[in-house]
């Protein structure tokens, strides 16, 4: 106990107390032969304590004031201000190898040096053998020192210094001299001295030695004490400052410390480096070459204590990059990066990257969030976490504790409203330099690249560190306006609507946004320039424009009754322009598991593919789309849209990066109406009901889409452009069944997916009228029983606009169990299915179409239940038409009976094409 007390007492004492040291040299600067004596402050207000038994390192670039500080500590220099108090005997190893009397022997010089160190004669005699042994000079100890090599001199000097039994040992960076063996020996000796409880002050550039040896480090720069603390906290800052001196600068405020170093910016928080090499940096693509900001030669100035202005010149490119960095508060750094050039610049692409420590685990953007995956050697490099093609204003990482249990604060990388030129991205870097990356990227865009300006802004925004409540912060910066009605909340930000209810965000990725295809270019609402206004307590109006596009997209968003979101979109055209499509797109969270529409229902798969998957394989032309989740927290949403011509919806599962359930509402503009003259055009009005009071939501318009006919064992079912034939309860048709197809402009338009149907069902007839959404065509089907096993099928196609079709088909798709075909002049057996899915279908037989000529299938295979043969024939002969027997692809694996024309038909309004068929099930009776 007693021993421990003594030791603690000793350790508690301060060996060195340095208080506010200022030291000035007068330097004769010669300027054109005129000498002016200028003051140079080598130490500027340095204060520190060294406890007894502590090992402290001093680190800093050349000229930082390290040696001056050591000399002042030794008492060789008197400070102009401040005081130094040392307790105990100080011995120093400075300028090792110098100061020997060259004519005298090593032995005499040892004595001489020892005397200078202040050792008594007896002590010198006692120490002498140890010194001689440690120096390992052998016979040379008797030779004059002038015969020594530099290494021997250093060995001698070091041996003397460490054997002087000092209480405090000051060592200047001298361990780098001498061979490796002796270096190691010296280091060992220093460790030994440290263990003996000596106070050691070591000046070195060898960071690994400093980290191993020193309890504490002082970092000096330009005579100032930049930081003192544990080696782990000081060395990173030292490394950050390494580099060309003119291009480095440091600013700090409170816990936040920022280092600019030749095109890189490092952030430190409470002495901990947040941004590993190379920190925050830029790269630009200029004349097909990537130029990193690190390649420029930099000059950084500090016009104020909290501001850095750095200019970097790319000599070969003739460009100048300018960074303006300002510590606005103790948490906030304003950053602006510009490119300047004498001629017009054409920057093709650029990005600003911010690397963050791999300790960070969770990322967030404005309304998305997620977790980083660990960086391993086989993980795909630079994997993005956010979907492309979107302008996000803000990305960040959440607070985390690192391996040492120290807190790393949340970091937010935010851009000024940049009119959609930049998109944010969150990435994982590769395992060589594991880091989380926040990125702002400016894509090549014609209107951007061709700026004739001589100054282009690469980035403007801010970095915010250590925000306690991120949710609130994001709400404040992110949304231009927020509407609230009951539990329902709508957040509006340039080109996006985010819906949430009871604090749960329902949408994700792109949320509710639009896409406009005009002049064969896609214009996302998220990258438009928006002007918005909160018109009333629950209504926002906004107008978005894209540079160089002569139209304005108007949005009107309204919340009603705590459960309705009404979204009106119209377009104002300012000069004649062609608009092909307008989409409104809702991306809902993946917690939504199932969908219901008036054209089908189903469940979303849990797996996401690399591409978007159309769930229904068809368009929903009217009514509503309902999404529901399996959890209580996600309310059912129902999107209802009115149906002027050409509007329909689609339900999709998104790709892997978005992981969202997508509902598209499309307004596809017919080709003849694509030219828009100046004026206002309405696109859609979508009513979204979110958990309305009636728990089931609006009833689907189920009626009017399906119809049935039944006679004896036969049954015909019509559903959404498809007919199916059942015989004694067995379905004879397969998959698409009875359907029609129209080909126009190299594209197929099928009755079951691209047309909207209305059905009238009477006792013995089905009359259905289908309207093609993309084509100015209306088709009418009439199905009736002629005899007990014979169906009459009449197809009438009527145009209400001008359109060319190059193929009209009427098909019956039947089971592959049918293996024999029967033509009017021949019959045969079906070959095997050829080709992969989506390949052209295999036409087995084609015959010109004559009245009553048949195309039929029969079944011969034994062992199966015998199915009746099916025969399909037209009522009248027609010249351009043919009957065909077709084998489908492997995907459908079915046989087709087909009535097809092979000529171009130029439809004009009111033109009618009429075909009547008979379908015979079984043998003719």
């Amino acid at each position: 106990m007693g021993n421990k007390y003594v030791e603690e007492n000793l350790n508690g004492m301060d060996s060195i107390q340095a208080n506010d040291l200022w030291l000035m040299y007068k330097i004769p600067f010669s300027n054109n032969g005129k000498i002016s004596w200028d003051n140079f402050w080598a130490l500027k207000g340095i204060s520190f304590n060294v406890r007894s038994g502590e090992a402290m390192g001093i680190i800093g670039e050349n000229g930082a004031g390290k040696t001056t500080l050591l000399r002042a500590l030794l008492g060789l220099l008197k400070c102009d201000r401040g005081s130094i108090k040392t307790t105990g005997r100080v011995s120093a190893l400075l300028e090792a190898g110098a100061g020997f009397e060259p004519e005298l022997s090593g032995q005499d010089n040892i004595r001489r040096h020892a005397r200078f160190f202040g050792l008594a004669e007896e002590a010198i005699e006692a120490a002498y053998p140890k010194i001689a042994e440690f120096a390992e000079l052998g016979r040379f100890i008797q030779a004059p020192v002038k015969c020594y090599s530099q290494g021997m001199l250093v060995r001698l000097a070091f041996s003397i210094a460490v054997h002087m039994q000092p209480d405090i040992l000051l060592i200047d960076d001298s361990l780098t001299v001498g061979d490796e063996y002796f270096q190691a020996k010296c280091v060992k000796k220093i460790f030994q001295l440290k263990e003996e409880g000596k106070t050691i002050i070591l000046v070195s550039h060898n960071t690994s030695l400093l980290v191993r040896l020193c309890d504490r480090l002082l970092l000096l720069k330009d005579g100032r004490l930049l930081r003192q603390g544990s080696a782990e906290s000081v060395v990173p800052l030292y490394i950050q400052l390494e580099g060309e001196k003119a291009g480095t600068a440091l600013i700090r405020d409170g816990a936040l410390e920022l280092v600019f170093n030749n095109g890189r910016v490092f952030l430190n928080w409470q002495g901990r480096l947040l941004t590993p090499e190379p920190g925050v940096y830029t790269a630009i693509k200029f004349r097909d070459k990537w130029l990193s900001g690190l390649q420029a030669s930099w000059e950084a100035v500090k016009p104020a204590e909290n501001r850095i202005i750095a200019r970097g010149i790319f000599y070969e490119a003739g460009l100048e990059q300018i960074w303006t960095i300002e510590l606005a508060t103790q948490q906030e750094v304003l950053v602006s990066v510009d490119i300047k050039s004498r001629q017009a610049v054409e920057i093709e692409e650029s990005f600003v990257n911010m690397l963050l420590r791999a300790d960070y685990q969770e990322w967030f953007s404005l309304a998305e969030q997620g977790e980083f995956s660990p960086i391993t050697s086989n993980s795909s490099n630079w994997r993005p976490y956010l979907g492309e093609g979107e302008a996000r204003r803000c990305v960040g990482v959440r607070e985390v504790r690192d391996a040492q249990g120290q807190c790393l604060p949340a970091v937010i990388f935010e851009q000024e409203n940049s009119s959609g030129k930049r998109t944010a991205q969150i990435l994982n870097s590769d395992y060589l330099c594991p880091a989380r990356v926040l990125q702002y990227k400016t894509f090549c865009r014609s209107n951007y690249a061709k700026t004739a300006a001589t100054q282009v802004n690469l980035f403007q925004g801010k970095i915010v560190v250590g925000v306690p409540d991120i949710g609130q912060y994001l709400d404040n910066i992110e949304y231009n306006y927020i509407l609230q009605s009951g539990d329902l909340k709508l957040k509006w930000r340039a080109g996006q609507v985010i819906l949430s209810r009871q604090g749960k965000v329902l949408t994700k990725a792109n949320h509710a946004s639009t896409l406009l295809r005009a002049g064969n270019q896609q214009h996302f609402s998220t990258i438009a320039e928006w002007v918005s206004k909160k018109q009333s307590e629950n209504k926002i109006v906004a107008a978005g424009t894209w540079p160089g596009v002569p139209l304005v997209e108007h949005w009107e968003m309204e919340l009603k009754d705590g459960c309705f979101f009404i979204w009106k979109i119209w377009v104002e055209v300012t000069a004649e322009v062609s608009i092909q499509e307008v989409y409104a797109r809702f991306s809902f969270c993946e917690q939504y598991k199932s969908y219901r529409t008036s054209y089908g229902a189903g469940k979303f798969p849990d797996e996401f593919m690399e591409y978007e998957v159309d769930m229904l394989q068809k368009c929903v032309p009217d009514g509503s789309v309902i999404l529901s989740a399996d959890t209580e927290q996600m309310p059912e949403v129902c999107m209802q849209f009115p149906r002027p011509p050409n509007i329909f919806a689609k339900v999709l599962n998104s790709d892997m990066s978005d992981r969202a359930r997508i509902v598209y509402v499309e307004n596809i503009i017919p080709e003849d109406k694509m030219r828009f003259t100046p004026g206002k055009y309405e696109c859609f009005e979508i009513h979204t009901a979110i958990a309305p009071p009636e728990a089931n939501g609006p009833v689907l318009a189920a009626a009017g889409n399906t119809a049935k006919l039944k006679k004896d064992g036969l049954e015909i079912v019509f559903e959404k452009g498809q007919g199916h034939i059942f015989w004694q309860g067995t379905q004879l048709t397969k998959r698409l069944g009875l359907y029609t197809s129209i080909r126009s402009g190299e594209r197929w338009f099928d009755s079951h997916s691209q047309a909207v149907w209305e059905v009238k069902n009477s006792d013995n007839t089905i009359e259905a009228s289908g309207k093609w959404v993309h084509l100015p065509l209306v088709q009418t089907w009439r199905l009736a029983f002629a005899q007990e096993n014979m169906l009459e099928f009449a197809v009438t196609l009527e145009a209400h606009g001008i359109i060319d079709t190059d193929r009209l088909q009427t098909n019956i798709m039947v089971s592959e169990l049918y293996d024999k075909w029967v033509g009017s002049q021949a019959q045969g057996v079906f070959p095997d299915f050829k080709g992969e899915a989506d390949d052209d279908w295999d036409v087995v037989r084609s015959e010109p179409c004559g009245a009553g000529q048949i195309a039929g299938v029969e079944m011969a295979a034994a062992g199966q239940r015998q199915l009746p043969s099916i025969t399909f024939y037209p009522d009248a002969a027609a010249q351009d038409w043919a009957m065909a027997i077709v084998n489908s692809d492997l995907h459908h694996r079915s046989r087709l009976l087909q009535h097809v024309n092979k000529g171009v038909i130029k439809f004009v309004p009111q033109q009618i094409v009429k075909c009547n068929f008979k379908i015979l099930i079984g043998k003719r009776k």
Binding site: M24, Y25, A92, E95, A98, G99, E101, E103, L104, H113
Partner: protein, 281 residues
């Protein structure tokens, strides 16, 4: 008791004491504490100086004798001076003069040439001129071992005056230290001083009665020669070695004054420039 801390009570003397006397005494005790270092290092230096030479320690004797021979040749055969036993007369002046000039030159460069020591060790800077002066003194002593017996042979009475000689020597060393300290300090501040010192010492040599006697100086310059401190020291050494006479009382007074004045002057210069000097080296 409480009044002791009142600075007004001490008044002028108190302030002198705190501002001047206390640091001075501190310094002096510091030097005294270093005495062993100074003596040992002085011996080291003395050894180092002669270690590389073939002639070794004999150079300390040969130097004054050679100068004596040269001067005797010039002033007895070319310019005839009416002085009895001229070679010995000249030697009695040249021997202390050479000690003086060697000390001054060595001391003036003692800091500039050994600044490394001030970078490495916690040594008081004033010790450096002291060390070289001590090393020179050792050479002088070795020379004495040969030269003093020469004088003794010619004039055995001088043995009686030996204690006086040692006293004068002590005053001479104090004088040299003061001057050397000032020169060493100023030489760091302005290196011109060291460079012109050689010429200055030569000039000083001619105006000091080293190879001529004091009574040869014209009357109108006599007062001027009295202002030269070396006149008194040389006169003193000469009468103690050559004439075997006790110098006049005012001569003792003069050399005491010179020694004290030189020391004060050296201390003043050193204390005034020390800080900036240390920053220069």
């Amino acid at each position: 008791m409480s009044n002791r801390t009142n600075p007004n009570r001490g008044g002028y003397f108190y302030r002198i004491r705190t501002a001047l006397v206390r640091p001075l005494t501190e310094r002096i005790t510091n030097i005294i504490r270093c005495r062993r270092l100074i003596i040992q290092t002085g011996i080291c230096r003395f050894r180092a100086k002669h270690a590389g030479l073939k002639l070794g320690i004999w150079i300390a004797v040969l130097n004054p004798l050679l100068v004596m021979l040269a001067i005797s040749f010039v002033f007895t055969h070319i310019i005839q001076l009416d002085i009895d036993n001229f070679p010995l007369f000249a030697l009695s002046g040249i021997f202390p003069w050479l000690f003086f000039s060697n000390c001054l030159l060595e001391a003036a460069f003692s800091i500039t040439s050994q600044q490394v020591l001030l970078h490495k060790f916690k040594v008081p800077a004033e010790a450096l001129p002291l060390i070289v002066i001590f090393a020179e003194f050792l050479s002088f002593l070795v020379g004495c071992c040969i030269i003093y017996p020469i004088f003794l042979v010619f004039n055995p009475q001088i043995i009686v005056l030996l204690p006086v000689l040692l006293l004068v020597l002590a005053a001479f060393i104090i004088f040299l230290f003061g001057l050397g300290l000032a020169l060493a300090t100023l030489n760091v501040i302005s290196p011109d001083i060291g460079q012109s010192l050689g010429i200055f010492i030569m000039f000083w040599f001619w105006v000091t009665p080293v190879f001529y006697s004091l009574d040869m100086i014209p009357v109108k310059f006599f007062w001027l020669s009295q202002l030269n401190p070396m006149t008194h020291f040389i006169t003193c050494f000469r009468s103690l070695l050559f004439y075997a006479q006790l110098p006049a009382g005012e001569v003792f007074l003069a050399i005491a004054g010179c020694a004290a004045g030189s020391l004060v002057c050296g201390a003043y210069v050193f204390s005034k420039w020390e800080t900036s000097m240390l920053k220069r080296i």
